[in-house]
C-alpha cells in the first residue's frame, strides 16, 4: 500500500507540502490539471451548465404543452427537445455530477493523495465538453438534432439527418469518458486505501461508487455497440435492425435496455451513497446496517442486468418472458426496501437537525420511495401495458431521477461545500432552495401520474382536451422548478465570494476522514502521508 503511495508521490515530482498547485496558471491550469479536486470541480461545473441547457429544453417542452394545439414549436422541433433533454440530463448533467463527487471525495475518504491515474482523469473530464458540444451542434446541422427520444429506437433513427451521427459520436465519447473514469475509481479504491482502511470500513459512498464503476464498465460498451450498429445501418448498408435485410428492430431495444437498465442504477447508486453519508451525520448516529447496505447495493447491481425487458412489455414477448422479467423486476424491491428501512433506522432515536443537506436527503427519502411505489405498479406486466409510454412513466422516472439523483446531488453539494471551499453557504437561502424545489417538483410531476393513468402518451406535442388541466398544472410547476434552480446558482456564487469561514468539522455528526483528518478547505493534495485507520 505505502509503496503505491510513495511511487505516486514521486511521480508528481517534487515538493507539495503546501496548498498551492504547480505548473501553469490561469486557464491552462484547468486544461492541464491532474489534481482530483480541480477535476472534480470541473465535473460539477460542467454538469451544472448542462443541467441549465437541458432545463431550458424541458421548459420549451412544458411551454408547448401548456395548452392543447401547436403554439410555440413544430412537432419536429418538439421531438428534438424531448430527445436532447433526455440525453443531456442523463449523460451531461446527472452522471458527470456524481463523477465529480467521486473525484473530490474518494481520495479523501480512503486516505489517498489523489486518484490512481491522474492524467487519465484529466482526459476523462476533457472529453466531456467535446461530447456536449457535439450534442448541441446537432441542432445546427441540416435536419437538426435527432427527434427519436433519448432511447434512439431503430428504425426511426435511420430517417434522421446528420444530427443523428453527431449524437452517436457524442455517445461514444461519453462512454469512453465514463469507462476511463470507472477504471480510475476501481483502481483507486482497490489499491490506494490508507493502512487499516479495510473495504468494510470504507464510507458507504465509496462502496456505492465501486459497484457503480463496475456497472459502467460492463454496460457502456453495450450502448456503444448499439449506436455503432445504428451508424452502420444508416450509412454502410448493414441491416442489424432492418427486417427487410434480415435484421430485427427489437434487437436494438434488447441491446439498448441491457445497457439502459444498469444505467438507471449507475445514476441512483452514488446518490444512495451520498444519502448514506448525510443521514448519519445529521442524525448524529452511525449508519444502521452498514454491511447489509453494501450487500443490498451489490444485489441491486446484479439484479439490474436481468430485468431489462421490463421496458419492453409491449413489444410482444412470449408469456414466459413476460413473467420472468416481471418476477425479476419485483425482486429489486427487496434490497431497495432494505436500504430504505436502514435509513429510517439510522434516523430512529437519533438527535436530528435539519440543515439544507439533511432536508434534501429527507426529500430524497420521501420522493424516491414514491418513485419506488410507482415502479412497483409498473413492474406488473399487465398494468404496465396500460401505462407504458404514458405520462405515468414520465412521472415515475422523474421521481427517481430528479427527486432521487438530483436532490441528492444538491444535498451533497451543500454537505461538502464547506469542506471543498472552506466557506459556508447561506443556510436560510439553502432552505428556500429546498422547499421551492420540493413544492414545484411535486406540482410538476405528481399530476403526471393522473394524466398517464388517463392515457396521455409521452413524446407528443399536442394532446386531447381531457389532459389540459394536468398539463397546465405541470407546466406551471416546471417553470417554478426551473427558476428555483437559479437560486442555487446564486447561493453557490454568494458563498464562494463572501461565505463565512467554515469549521474543519462543520457538521457535528460527520465522521469520515475528510471531516476528521483534514482542515477546511481541504489541502490541494489530501493525504501525502496516509492516515492510520483503526
Amino acid at each position: 500500500m505505502s509503496a503505491v503511495l510513495d511511487e505516486h508521490g514521486h511521480g508528481k515530482g517534487g515538493d507539495h507540502h503546501d496548498d498551492h498547485h504547480h505548473g501553469y496558471g490561469g486557464l491552462m491550469r484547468w486544461v492541464t490539471t491532474t489534481n482530483h479536486k480541480d477535476i472534480g470541480s470541473m465535473y460539477l461545473w460542467f454538469s451544472f451548465a448542462m443541467f441549465m441547457v437541458g432545463g431550458v429544453m424541458a421548459l420549451v417542452i412544458r411551454a408547448e404543452l401548456f395548452s392543447p394545439g401547436l403554439q410555440i414549436v413544430n412537432p419536429e422541433f418538439f421531438n428534438q427537445m424531448t430527445t436532447m433533454h433526455g440525453l443531456i440530463m442523463v449523460f451531461g448533467a446527472i452522471m458527470p455530477a456524481f463523477v465529480g463527487f467521486a473525484n473530490w471525495l474518494i481520495p479523501m475518504q480512503i486516505g489517498a493523495p489523489d486518484m490512481a491515474f491522474a492524467r487519465m482523469n484529466n482526459w476523462s473530464f476533457w472529453i466531456l465538453p467535446f461530447a456536449g458540444s457535439l450534442l448541441i451542434m446537432s441542432f445546427f446541422v441540416p435536419g437538426g438534432a435527432p427527434g427519436v427520444g433519448w432511447t434512439m429506437y431503430a428504425p426511426l433513427t435511420v430517417q434522421m439527418g446528420m444530427g443523428m451521427d453527431l449524437t452517436i459520436f457524442a455517445v461514444h465519447l461519453l462512454g469512453m469518458s465514463s469507462i476511463m473514469g470507472s477504471i480510475n475509481i476501481v483502481t483507486t479504491i482497490l489499491n490506494m486505501r490508507a493502512p487499516g482502511m479495510t473495504l468494510m470500513k470504507m464510507p458507504l459512498f465509496c462502496w456505492t461508487w465501486l459497484i457503480t464503476a463496475y456497472l459502467l464498465i460492463a454496460s457502456m460498451p453495450v450502448l456503444a455497440g448499439a449506436v455503432t450498429m445504428t451508424l452502420t445501418d444508416r450509412h454502410f448498408g448493414t441491416s442489424f435492425f432492418n427486417a427487410a435485410g434480415g435484421g430485427d428492430p427489437v434487437l436494438y431495444q434488447h441491446i439498448f435496455w441491457f445497457f439502459g437498465h444498469p444505467e438507471v442504477y449507475i445514476i441512483i447508486l452514488p446518490a444512495f451513497g451520498v444519502v448514506s453519508q448525510i443521514l448519519p451525520a445529521f442524525s448524529r448516529k452511525p449508519l444502521f446496517g452498514y454491511a447489509s447496505m453494501v450487500y443490498a447495493t451489490a444485489s441491486i447491481a446484479i439484479l439490474s442486468f436481468i430485468v431489462w425487458a421490463h421496458h419492453m412489455y409491449t413489444v410482444g414477448m412470449p408469456v414466459t418472458g413476460q413473467l420472468f422479467f416481471m418476477y425479476a423486476t419485483t425482486l429489486i424491491a427487496v434490497p431497495t426496501a432494505a436500504k430504505i428501512f436502514n435509513w429510517l433506522a439510522t434516523m430512529w432515536r437519533g438527535s436530528l437537525t435539519f440543515e439544507t443537506p439533511m432536508l434534501f436527503a429527507l426529500g430524497f427519502l420521501f420522493l424516491f420511495t414514491m418513485g419506488g411505489f410507482s415502479g412497483l405498479v409498473l413492474s406488473l406486466a399487465a398494468v404496465d401495458i396500460q401505462l407504458h409510454d404514458t405520462y405515468y412513466v414520465v412521472a415515475h422516472f422523474h421521481y427517481v431521477m430528479v427527486a432521487g439523483a438530483l436532490f441528492t446531488a444538491f444535498g451533497g453539494v451543500y454537505f461538502w461545500f464547506p469542506k471543498w471551499t472552506g466557506k459556508m453557504y447561506d443556510e436560510t437561502l439553502g432552505k428556500w432552495h429546498f422547499w421551492l424545489s420540493m413544492i414545484f417538483f411535486n406540482i410538476t410531476f405528481f399530476v403526471q401520474h393522473f394524466s398517464g393513468l388517463a392515457g396521455m402518451p409521452r413524446r407528443i406535442p399536442d394532446y386531447p382536451l381531457i389532459f389540459e388541466t394536468w398539463n397546465k398544472i405541470s407546466s406551471i410547476g416546471a417553470f417554478g422548478f426551473g427558476l428555483s434552480q437559479l437560486l442555487f446558482l446564486y447561493i453557490i456564487l454568494k458563498a464562494l465570494s463572501s461565505g463565512e469561514k467554515a469549521a474543519d468539522k462543520q457538521w457535528e455528526g460527520a465522521d469520515s476522514l475528510e471531516w476528521t483528518h483534514l482542515p477546511s478547505p481541504a489541502p490541494y493534495h489530501s493525504f501525502e502521508t496516509p492516515p492510520v485507520v483503526k
Binding site: P318, T330, R349
Partner: protein, 380 residues
Amino acid sequence: MQHFSARKFGRWALAAGIFALVAAGSAQALEWNLPPAATKIAEDVHSLHEYVMAVIVVIFVAVFGVMFYSVFAHRKSKGHKPANFHENTTVEIIWTVIPLLILVVIAWPATKAVIAQKDTSNSELTIKATGYQWKWGYDYLKGEGEGISFVSQLKTPRDQIEGKADKGENYLREVDNELVVPVGKKVRILTTAADVIHSWGLQAFAVKQDAIPGFIRDAHFRADKIGVYRGGCVELCGKEHGFMPIVVRVVSAEDYTKWVDGEKKKLAALADDPTKTYSLDELKARGEKVYASNCVACHQATGKGAPPAFPPLDGSKVVAGPKADQIALVLNGKTGTAMAAFGKQLNDTEIAAAITFTRNSWGNKTGEAIQPAEVKSLRK
C-alpha cells in the same frame, strides 16, 4: 412548532390555490384514473392496479409514519440524545422477508392477468392493423367482414390544431374511418408496420401492442359494451406521432352485419378501373384529395415541404423530371427517409391522380396527365 404548522398550511393553501385556478380555467372534467374498462381483461387489470395501490397505501402509511414520527420526536432541538445502535440482524432479516412476502401475494393476480392477456387463441375475428407514418391501415383477415380493408386517419382539421378554429369535443381523437367490431366477439389484432415502430394502444380494452416493421405481433380483446373507444399511437414514430389516433366502434351483431354489407358495396363501387383514361382536370381534382390525405403532412399544402427532412415539391427536379422516375419514387418510397412506398397503400388511379396534381400545381406546370395504366405498368 406552531410557526412550522402555519408555514406548512400556507404552502398547502398556495398549492391548492394554484390548482383551483387552473382547474377553473379548463373546460373539461378531470380524468385522473384509467378510463372505464370495456373488456373483462381490462376490468381485471384495473382491479389489479387498485389492489396494488391499496398495498402501497398501507406501506406508505407505515414507512412514512415512522419517518415523520422520527422527524418530530427525535430532534436535537427537543433535546433528544442520540442512541448508538447500528445493527440488528433479526430486524434486518424480518424487513427483508416482509417485502418478499408482499411480492408473493401480489404475484398471483399479476401472473393470472398476464396469462389472460397473452391468450390470443380461438378468436372469432382477425384484423391486421398496419402502422404507417402517420395513419393506421386495417385489413379484416378472417371472420365476418373478411376482405374489408381501409385506411384510418386523423379527422381533426388542421385549423383546430393551429388554433385558428375552436377545438371539437374529440380533438385529436377522431378518425375518418373507424374500426368497427361486433360486441362480445373475441377479436384478434395483428400488428405490423410499414416504416418505423408504432404501437396500437387502447386502454379501455387493456391492449397496447407495438407494430414492428417486418414482424407480426398480436393482441386480443372481447368488448362487452357497445360504444366508441378512443386511443392512439403510443410509440414515438416521427413528427406526426401525436396525430394518429385509433377509434374503435363496438356495435351489436346485427349492426355489424349491416356495416359489413355497406362496406362491401362501397368497396365495389369505389374500385377504380385502372384501364380507364381520365382528363387532366379530373385527375387534378382527384389528386388534390389524395394529396390532402396522404402527402400534405410532410410536403405541406403549399408544396414547400419542410427541408431538409421533407423536400419541397414546388419546383422539385423529380416532379419536373421524367414521369416514370416520379411514379417509381411514389410507388416504392425512398429508403432512409420518411417517404413511404405508397404502392402498398394507394391504387393506380389514386397514385396517377396525386402525381398529376403535383406536376400541375403551385409553380409546376408540366401540363401532363398521368394515366392509371402508366402507374400499373411500373408496378414491380
